[in-house]
Symmetry: D2
Subunit: 135 residues, 4 copies
Amino acid sequence: MPATQSELAAFMSREFPQTKCTIVATGDFGATVRHEVGTGELRPGDTVSGPVLMTVADVALYVAILAEIGIRPLAVTTSLSINFMRKPPSAAAIVGVCKLMKLGRSLAVGEVNLYSEGLRDPVAHAVGTYAIPPG
Amino acid sequence: MPATQSELAAFMSREFPQTKCTIVATGDFGATVRHEVGTGELRPGDTVSGPVLMTVADVALYVAILAEIGIRPLAVTTSLSINFMRKPPSAAAIVGVCKLMKLGRSLAVGEVNLYSEGLRDPVAHAVGTYAIPPG
Amino acid sequence: MPATQSELAAFMSREFPQTKCTIVATGDFGATVRHEVGTGELRPGDTVSGPVLMTVADVALYVAILAEIGIRPLAVTTSLSINFMRKPPSAAAIVGVCKLMKLGRSLAVGEVNLYSEGLRDPVAHAVGTYAIPPG
Amino acid sequence: MPATQSELAAFMSREFPQTKCTIVATGDFGATVRHEVGTGELRPGDTVSGPVLMTVADVALYVAILAEIGIRPLAVTTSLSINFMRKPPSAAAIVGVCKLMKLGRSLAVGEVNLYSEGLRDPVAHAVGTYAIPPG
């Protein structure tokens, strides 16, 4: 029932052809995704825009959940809460590392640490909840 | 010191040329922005993706703040929390209506109701905080 | 099926005998509750402690939901998010004004403005979600 | 400049005489606190009330911050966001384990896992931000 990383990658490129997120790893109730940063992702102050970080958090959660329960496209975010902690430099990709804290029958909760690739301290931290449709 | 709607529109198109948000109204400690929905904004289930709604919330807050304090590009989101309440239909634009709840010297807090254009009940509700750089 | 204010007051004093919240008003998808502030509610800085404000928010939401759906004690908070905006003076009671934004079959979402009695601007703002057990 | 556990315990019992939280450990950008559960902490469903969990989260954050920066009573919560994940049994104390994610000059961000004593999976997870007054 779980989905492999390559099944998830195929699903994402089919259903979200416009996404710039790639899947780096899945498994163990978690997932790591990566988002290249180009001119379109920047904002004044030579830094990455907030919505890019929120997008990475949302995708990391979605991938972590589908990796466990299998590909059920209709799982939907019900809430997301993010704190921005450090200014991400404009030259580094954003990496989101999700860890699921609860995976119930109808609700999942996970946290995502967001990093500027190559830096140690997370630039942001998000917590999200997902509603899981009946299997 | 406040910025007019046309000054804000010029600022947004210069600094965020990739944004699909347009400014509908500003003033009275609030702002309304609108985001067209095309194929790139959809997700499985014939609905609008969560990150699009988060983006609209973030832009609505940013515009509402800059409308009051003037154009200070370095104001940055410090947190954003969103609840998704109803499924936005794929055919309608997303409209974000922001109301500032606090506008202090260094911190602003606002809420944003997010609507599918033409529908009465909001599809999502967000609360965000912004750090304001010294003027 | 809705519950009246006196039914709710009786329920609260039976099930939460230790609560200091009283119900001021209910109806129209909302509720107002009030919490006296005494020495036990203060913290350094001559102000009201954060947990008191969170408690008022939680009770206001619970009362607003039960007022609509009737007394189902097993409705439980699934998330709560609060922003503290102004310092509540130690001498004023806290008043929580809840407005439900969504009341679905299994999930409710509401916001609560928290006031120091007699002051105009809210001291805090909360958003909470409740899981509603099958009726 | 950091405060020891016994200094923090003395401070808490002096400034928050009504608190039922005791400090279990501090250090390494974290803190563990414990809250006994008695009749006054319960709610219908034979479980612990949400505000008790929020209180433990708030105290754990406060203690973790003061342990690092020294006793500055005027540090105040600016936001707190909590997800309730599992039903805490009524017979177990609540233990909050805080880990600071950012400790800046004027702002701290931390997360708190909340446990029913003796159980492995957290019953709730909170993220809070604190404003730190000038030292």
